[in-house]
Symmetry: C2
Subunit: 346 residues, 2 copies
């Protein structure tokens, strides 16, 4: 079988990263002259066509939207997909989904795959590794070649694209303020490392809520985890260790999984929820609804985010050609869903 | 913008169903001569190419696998996807996912979309509506044109394709037998209508388990619901009504959602689980794990199903051309995961 030459194959053949190949082919100064020449010669020899994206765009419209997301075991992403599907259907578009598994190379490959004539544009939430690496050349490249991109939830600034976000800072502030209103004063947070934008912003909201009540922020009450879409044994152990013997009356977590594990750990420590310790988490999925006690959450309204992202993309695809492109950042309002893990506001 | 002529557009233009267009274009006797001529003339006039699947196959390999599933809010399907992704990655294949939303037309469109040069073959679980309609021409068509298909979980017989299944009958029998072993004798089942193969087979396993204990099957203890991947207010009401005042000591459900709702309804009725009524459900996801009490389940091992489905497809894609095609049906073993909703076997 004759293999189609892809960035990946070139990278493998020349023993460099996909990112290096991609940058070399568009003459990035980040790559040494020598490496650039080598890669370009190889690509030419085997007739690699870096401009197939642009070509396909000129020749036809696919009426298909590509979604690239970190993973789908996460309930939030499945609701976003539902929203995209709805809006796409209303406008007679198809939807294709690819998963990056939070892996940078897989995300780059997905974009290459879908941009290759299968789709008209992308809706994208960044892989964890992409945020860590801080390498977004694949986005820039697709956009440069005329594929519109709408980013949502896990986004990067400085890329010419529409964005759909919740106000993570405000949402977290609302959640923590609810804990404060019910009388909690010693509130811990379980969040992610700062390279995950949503984690960073939600931590900021937590701090602002405390400050508005004149409560000193105690670094010992902040747990930053490297996990984001899962909580493995190591993650569970860290949460247990963090909560053990802590003098707290409230916990705010930036996702459902952390909250469920925190709830279990507190229960094991003999704490009653919400009487001894109250819990609020971010993101409204099945887990917080069916957990015992059910969890008070800051709902992200994923379906609405998906609908808005698809709408923005379709507007770009069907709008007239313009001299100056303009980009929209849409904020979807969060709302508080009160359940059993918090006391009533007096 | 010039629109690409699709089955859907032809159907819309001529005010017939997509299925009719598709059948007419391959001269099916099911469609009247008159309608056939009309559709073929229209397709010819606008240069519709029904054979683009075959063409694309001859010209190139995409090294991409298409997955078409009913939906992804269902934890089982997300685990299958994880398995497919793993195996695909090990063999250097990409994966593209499309959702049918349990809708027949959407499933047909997805196949048309992905077969159109984007993928080398399919992994598919049928939409609820497709099973209801009993119309599988789109599968036959893709297979006739050289796209291998692997069906899993919700499948139809009589189509030349590999299949990956769990033994639903045996799995259900194991689950119900576990209830019997723990002393339950009046066991109800909450299942689906018979057109859903998995529901039908699991009901059969339930009956066989009872019969092996010489227990008469009581039709009043069988609830067949039209729902499959969701349980809306109406579905919840039916479960509540069904369980109200019933003299039972065990419940077997064919999915997690029914079990969670049954558990809540029994709790409301003042029943203690598992002391008064024990519960076993099919399908092992987050809900059964995090529910209170946590639920004993028959695990389907979705990840393994996905890995096997991808393996079968890749074997077909990379195997030599053969005179006589042979098809494999793989059964993945189920296993019982004991949790809090059942008593210990004495």
């Amino acid at each position: 079988m004759k293999r189609k030459l892809t960035l990946k194959l070139i990278a493998k053949e020349l023993d460099v990263s996909i990112s290096t190949v991609s940058k070399a082919l568009r003459d990035s100064a980040e790559i040494s002259e020598d490496t650039r020449q080598k890669i370009k010669a190889f690509a030419k020899l085997y007739n690699y066509k870096p401009n197939n994206i642009a070509l396909s765009l000129k020749n036809r419209k696919t009426r298909t939207i590509g979604i690239i997301i970190p993973q789908i075991v996460h309930h939030f992403f499945t609701t976003v997909i539902r929203g995209v599907e709805q809006m796409a259907r209303e406008h007679n578009y198809n939807v294709i989904i690819c998963l990056s598994n939070n892996d940078f190379e897989k995300e780059v490959m997905n974009m290459e795959l879908l941009a290759n004539g299968s789709t008209d544009g992308f809706i994208l939430s960044l892989a964890k590794e992409t945020m860590q690496k801080n390498d977004f050349h694949h986005l820039t490249e697709a956009i440069d070649q005329g594929m519109p991109v709408v980013q949502f939830d896990r986004v990067v600034d400085g890329i010419p694209s529409d964005k759909v976000l919740v106000d993570d800072r405000e949402g977290a502030k609302m959640g923590v303020t609810h804990l404060l209103k019910t009388g909690c004063r010693k509130i811990a947070i379980i969040t992610t490392e700062d390279y995950v934008t949503v984690g960073k912003l939600r931590t900021k909201g937590y701090i602002e809520a405390l400050e508005s009540y004149d409560i000193r922020v105690d670094k010992d009450l902040i747990l930053k985890l490297d996990n984001i879409d899962s909580c493995d044994d190591q993650c569970i152990a860290k949460i247990k260790h963090f909560l053990k013997g802590k003098d707290i009356d409230g916990v705010f977590t930036i996702n459902e999984l952390f909250a469920v594990e925190a709830s279990k750990a507190l229960h094991t420590n003999g704490k009653s929820i919400p009487a001894d310790v109250s819990i609020v988490c971010f993101s409204d999925g099945d887990l917080s609804k069916y957990a015992t006690p059910s969890l008070t959450t800051v709902s992200q309204h994923g379906e609405q985010m998906g609908r808005r992202a698809a709408e923005l993309l379709i507007n770009k695809l069907e709008g007239p050609e313009v001299e100056v492109e303009e980009y929209t950042t849409s904020y979807i309002n969060t709302s508080l869903i009160e359940r059993e893990s918090t006391r009533k506001v007096k």
